[in-house]
Amino acid sequence: MNRALPVLTVLTGIVVIWYAAAVWMNAAWVFDQAQRAGQEVTWAEVIPQTMDQPRPLLPPPHQVGAELWKGLFDQAVTSKRSLVYHGIVTLKGTMMGFGLGIVVGVLLAMAIVRFRVMDLSVMPWAIISQTVPIVALAPMIITVSSQLGLSGRDVPKAVIAAYLSFFPVLVSMVKGLRSPDQMQLDLLKTYGAGEAATFLKLRLPASMPYFFASLKVAVAASLVGTIVGELPTGAIEGLGARMLIGSQFGEPLIMWAALFAAAILAGLLILVVGMVERLARRRMGVPA
């Protein structure tokens, strides 16, 4: 309860501001309608009318909630209108990109820690790669992958997601693999330990706290990458495509519902990563 209170306070604040903003932004339309009909409206009449417009500038929370509910529970999950369906598509892309990002990030980190040449040559490019806006890059990746004859969206989406998610893993793993101090390395030397043993017995376990810290960032980045990968025209599946459809066809409710579905998905993913981390920490003897 002590932990829930601050969260609830902030949540309440957000909802209050949101409602106020919804009234303010949607009122213009009500006044406009009234003026065309030659009517005078008071604020008391305006406010209820800002709450259930079909195409509000800013849908109030309850409208978004209703649309979200409809999308999640009122459809067969195989329906193209179901947010569960689109959510699963996005989740699949996210997990593929996440996995690819982890593999690339960890392998690059291993190479960078092992070879000074890699440190000098790869690291700057890894940093530069993150300064390129992914929205500029995403269409190119999709075009190239279709040029290469890859049908479907799965591969380019995973590549875009991995492009964003490998970086936090890489940076953390480089730091983590380098975290053992000279004394610990000397100790292994006195045992005549080779490089493989040093890596497996010392560097890898020592890097685990860094690894898990990076996973939370990476999984969120991976989700963002997947959604960006779903945005360019032509995408018909996934939460990103749903957002784009909502925006392009003037259906703000669809867009907002998809947005919140994505937020819920992100929350669940981070929760799962946190649970895996806790399990790993317990196995590694970290005090509870």
Partner: protein
């Protein structure tokens, strides 16, 4: 045939070691000559920068001499390391926090490829040797600093090296714990008959533990005195109030002071 107890295990002849640093070369060891025999308990004492740790690290092949000869069991230190000639105890216990105490002791055994059964058997034996039986399943953070250091000694003992090198192992511990551990190290030494090289800052510690005290001085790091202790092998803590003890301590202090006059 010479008695086994007087066979030299570590021999340094005209040993020099120069570090190349950003401020130019630093002579860490200059013309070091020393013989350590089987079963000796040798302390290296001196102010910081006198090369005592460097010398210990050179024996362990963690540093490499610039000139001179150094042999361990009659072979170069690198070769001796490959034959698991020594266990090394650092100033900090340096236990892996993600391994249990038993897991930490098993670490060198895993690397050296002992069978699982032998790992367990040896772990149990050295835990008993440092009086930590029953703590094998604990994680390092659950133990006090002194117990952690004992576990790290057990780790160094696990693979049966003949030589135990200890680099200020109790430097970070308080006086009371240190006294107790000193007693235990002596007991351990008596039970195992190992050759021990022990680096320390503390005159009483050096005199209490050693059969041979090597006094060193800095800039450049060199040996100024080697004292063969006349104290008996059996040493209760109150031996430190005896006349002989005080005389040796006095000679060590004089040696340290003489080294300091030089610069």
């Amino acid at each position: 045939m010479k008695d086994k107890a007087s066979q030299p295990v570590i021999e340094a002849r005209g040993l020099n070691l120069v570090f190349q640093t950003a401020d130019g070369p630093v002579q860490a060891l200059k013309d070091v000559n020393l013989t350590i025999n089987q079963g000796d308990f040798v302390s290296f004492i001196g102010p910081s920068g006198c090369g005592k740790t460097t010398f210990l690290r050179a024996i362990a092949a963690l540093e490499h001499p610039t000139s001179g000869t150094l042999t361990v069991n009659g072979m170069p230190p690198d070769e001796a390391r490959r034959r698991r000639a020594y266990g090394y105890v650092f100033q900090a216990a340096g236990l892996y926090p993600w391994r249990t105490i038993a897991g930490n002791i098993r670490l060198p055994l895993e690397i050296m490829g002992f069978s699982r059964a032998e790992q367990d058997e040896r772990t149990a034996r050295v835990l008993d040797l440092v009086e930590l039986t029953g703590f094998g399943k604990k994680f390092p953070w659950q133990l006090s600093g002194g117990m952690q250091q004992r576990a790290s000694i057990a780790r160094a003992l696990a693979f049966d090296a003949d030589i135990l090198l200890m680099d200020e192992p109790f430097g970070a511990l308080d006086e009371i714990v240190r006294d107790r551990l000193n007693e235990e190290v002596l007991k351990l030494w008596a039970r195992t008959g190992k050759t021990i090289g022990f680096v320390t800052h503390s005159i009483p510690e050096a005199v209490y533990l050693s059969t041979k005290i090597v006094v060193m001085s800095p800039r450049p790091g060199r040996i100024t005195d080697v004292i063969d202790s006349p104290l008996p092998k059996e040493r209760p803590l109150d031996i430190r109030d005896s006349r002989e003890f005080i005389e040796i301590a006095h000679r060590v202090r004089e040696g340290l002071r003489a080294g300091h006059h030089d610069d």
